[in-house]
Symmetry: D2
């Protein structure tokens, strides 16, 4: 379905970096859900380039909801969010039309759209489109909190520096949601920031790993095989530009474990079945077991760098060198974590709605 | 869609470990495609437990195609593959009905199906269902080869021992497809096998990493965002039981790279645009760039082990210890690689059909 | 999705008239639903050619359920029904490979499948495939009855003779479900049968109109626009071969009414909101209002007749005359009504599951 | 998928009658398609209330395309159309919140959305939403014309007065597309208009039948069973408010025909296979045969009338009488025909894209 994802609850995204609006249509949300404009605004602000690491864009993201919300509550019909694009001087991007930025989608867009694509600022491939996803997900995230389901993402690793693991997840999430730079161990913020700025000074960029925890999930949500919670979450995560890996629970480390170590022993605690470890990340056979859902994504360093790069002019079919100009983001992990939170919330709302019906979130 | 996946080409799977048949319906394949029964049989044999590592099941997997194939060619209508289950003594599994095997889906199945699930041998959650997926994918894999698109998977890592990387991928794939234990460097087979058997003697199991290469892909296939090739492949991969991670190109390692190193410089070679590295695994912005698609999955150690395990009786709500009995597979990576090949082939056929129409594969 | 329909609950059909099996996979049904094999068999028998009007096929339709049912109850995982084809002498159909039967799908199959289609007995286009749909729908129909939702279809018109309208719908449905030739007014059976046999003697065939009532539906099920109950039911109905029209409530007659007459006045009865008329067929804005869902389908006369017909040989591209041979069904309305019942039941279960969650039908 | 329809090409609609915007996202259209803003505007104007029959709204529908179109051509990414709502005095509709307008969706909306629905002017159930569908379809309709596929709809019947049948369909479509009141026989316009105005004077409304022809379709497009062209078109048509019936070819009349009369004899003409009649409306077995696709819809009289109506207050659960006020449309058939044209175009583009790939329309 190309730009639409989800079944019981779906999201459709649209827009280009330099078009009039980017936006999203969130369909299938239960009626009567509170829509907190402040909270959406807060999440959009966290997603934006900030003055510390990136060259900030001047204004904050304005947004408006033009359907599906009345008197601050969802009506049950499609919720449409519009985010106007700022007046970016598009001349900065004029070279992109024929010269591919390495590891961007310029060339593949050409292969698919035959030159008709909007290549200004990355067009529809721009990470900016994730702002729309973030706004839609913000509505879902708050709705989940009302049902005792909390989602939080931290920068597990950036520029080779690691944050501590989740510990008391509820408290950790609470703390994360208030932070601009989402690390659990505050002192890693400084280390990571320094490393990012060092890379930036060198005209370079860095990547990282984002780790998400979802707690409070009812047991028995999801499906075996194709609609496994892992399948749905990874489908969504890999649609976020820059994600090159997704792993659940122990993830790739589990490949090196013995079964006797990897298996999660089970216990009964306060009348509820739990596991002592969580190497499966809260999911067995595609279905939630009630333990926290834990997953990580690999975020590649932003491909736009301030160094000359070997590339090609795909129209004139010649090799060339891309000279750096304009601004660049030396890191996006701290911003991408907001997108990951929001995108996860959409998937979880969809899975819950499928399981318990369209009114469950009310 | 639960047990159905794909749009232009879709696959529906069904069956339980101890039911009469497991099977798959492959719908949307172009008419006139050769269906090679020997090849399907070959892939099914590779997927089965073998005498070297696992306790082999006695007979080989018989299968029959009961619709959609006429005179050895696809008709264009749904292809239904049935694989009869062997007469397994179901008494071995009687304990499972109430006592959860740790890291299996026994408990989550209970949460979702309220005790009505078929728990014999794992029921619908059994890895055995992947035999049906394998048979369906075998048809797709051969169809792709006719169009110059080749898929191969090797055991990149098992029990901590690593295979070499892909080199001349075409030759590597050719070699892999003939192997029972799919490693590129033959001497790692012995090392891995020894490590597996050592774990087996200890009643334990091991996991691993599978790496897949897809070559010959046309450029410009896939979609930005939700139908990115990465999204579709990962969705499929995470539906295979035991997969806990999926990564493309440099995957999680890219998180530690600088942009200047991670970016894939572009060149023109023989009139075609290529990249000098392939850290993006053949995909930019969700769309193929013509370079090999490379991805890896993390396979957890088989949770069935021959050691006592702490667990719960979820019906009587008490803690208990699961005593080992019956047979167990100390490793499944060598078998899972066939499933990964086949499952990838279905996704790729779907993406190609969406892009170029339903007759393209003819 | 070609041969798969439905979201929360879906059905996938497969098979050809002369293949080994036709069948269906019903996915998403709640666990714990009773599966009554006698009832399925009963519905399959009603769908079969009978000795009175059609030349009967010798044996009755055997079927088996090879997955998704355990101890007579659904498990919650895909239910697969297989119906073996009888040993039909395929030589009767040899002419079909190149000579199109007018108003059959022979020629369009050629256009789409380029000669690779299985044309024996109509192949995948055969009305016989509806037996699989009927078996799947029989499970749904009984599940609905357990929740107080009843579905019945009568032959509203056949060969120009009309049955009476629904009156006490609950009683009417009860009566219909026991009948081989489903009319409400018993004396029309004789009239219709005579007219059918008269046409048969002349080597001709007749069509008719089928009317379905669904009672006991909860209010508020369905969606505005694309997932309106009307959209879903008509989508399903038009997939049944021979259906050329679908209308709800007053249907095409409403086109001639004034608004003041067409509108359904509303009242409160026993604390429940009802309408005094039902020109909207139980649906407003795509959503159920709690009144009976009423719809009719136009069934074309069976195109296989016992008269010479002008047609073409689409391989040799010449005009020719199709000479009659073999048996033909002078009418199928009395059999198609079973399919309509069953197919409706699938759609309604899907809509209810979407609305109230996957456990609602338990 | 609620407010999203289509696979290869999909449309998502959103908005409420009195919200800021209604709109549509058209996704999957080939890149490089001309977008003619004048033509879209023309179709929107035809859809609007006009001064002759309805009380006209003052301004014409403005619209803007905020994504997916660059330099007057589609980019291949989602096309978003926004249509601002005019400043309607919402007080006129204040009674609707608790008192159901008979045969409107007020009560079913309450059942589904529990009072959170936007009931001003019908909210999301308003026929006004079809303006967005019309704008999206206008793009598709022009794209089809470039490929020689033409769509036209006329008012086959209104207020009991019938228009002539299609004759030279190409010329008829050309003529229809220029008309405000789309009848083939000009003198019926006056008769129909008089009858409509007569009903209006009496405070009443009338319905009608719309007939659509689609010519130039390639042969072999569509699918047997669930993705039959009939299924897809009817699914779309029944999502248009007011449609209560859909029939193809001879439609319900075929129910009264003998097979020998109903069957369409086949011939070869200019090297192409044709049928001498077209009782099947261009579709056999769900697949196009190259003859014109012909279908009709039953449009119910607008339920808003200028007479007192018996109804209920669904909040206070009491019976009441709805007193007429404000304006009402005595007929919408002349406006709905534009929606039918446009909506058909979307479905046909989707089917063609599925069959021939995403670039076919270029």
């Amino acid at each position: 379905m190309k730009n639409t994802f989800g079944n019981s609850i779906s999201v459709t995204i649209f827009g280009e970096s330099h078009g009039e609006y980017i936006g999203a249509v969130l369909d299938g949300m239960a009626p009567g859900i509170d829509v907190d404009f402040e909270y959406i605004s807060h999440m959009l602000t966290l997603r934006r380039p900030d003055g510390k690491i990136s060259t900030p864009r001047k204004e904050k993201d304005e947004f408006k909801i033009v359907s599906g919300v009345l008197n601050g509550k969802t009506t049950g019909t499609p919720i449409t969010i519009l985010i106007p694009n700022e007046n970016v001087k598009s001349g900065d991007y004029s070279q992109m039309r024929t010269v591919a930025r390495p590891s961007h989608a310029d060339f593949t867009a050409q292969c698919k759209y035959h030159g008709f694509q909007d290549s200004r600022g990355g067009g529809h491939f721009s990470g900016r489109i994730t702002a729309a996803l973030t706004a839609a997900g913000a509505i879902c995230k708050l709705a989940l909190e009302k049902k005792g389901i909390y989602i939080g993402t931290h920068i597990k690793k950036c520029a080779g520096i690691s944050d501590r693991n989740f510990d008391d997840i509820f408290c950790d999430i609470k703390a994360l949601n208030g932070k601009t730079f989402a690390v659990l161990d505050d002192k890693t913020e400084e280390e990571m920031t320094s490393a990012i700025l060092e890379a930036a000074e060198d005209g370079d960029s860095v990547g990282g790993v984002l780790e998400t925890a979802i707690i409070g999930m009812p047991q028995g949500v999801g499906e075996p095989f194709f609609d496994s919670i892992e399948s749905l979450l990874s489908h969504m995560m890999f649609s976020i530009p820059a994600v090159k890996g997704v792993e659940f629970g122990a993830g790739f480390e589990i490949a090196d474990m013995k079964g006797s170590f990897a298996n999660d022993p089970m216990r009964i605690k306060d009348g509820k079945i739990i596991t002592l470890k969580n190497n499966n990340g809260g999911i067995n056979g595609g279905i939630t077991n009630g333990m926290p859902i834990i997953f990580r994504t690999a975020i590649k360093p932003t491909p736009t760098i301030f160094k000359p790069q070997e590339t090609v002019d795909f129209v004139n079919m010649c090799e060339t060198v891309l000279e750096p100009k304009g601004r660049h983001d030396p890191a996006i992990v701290h911003r991408a974590r907001v997108v990951q939170d929001a995108a996860s919330a959409i998937v979880i709302c969809d899975a819950l709605s499928a399981r318990f019906g369209t009114d469950w979130l009310i």
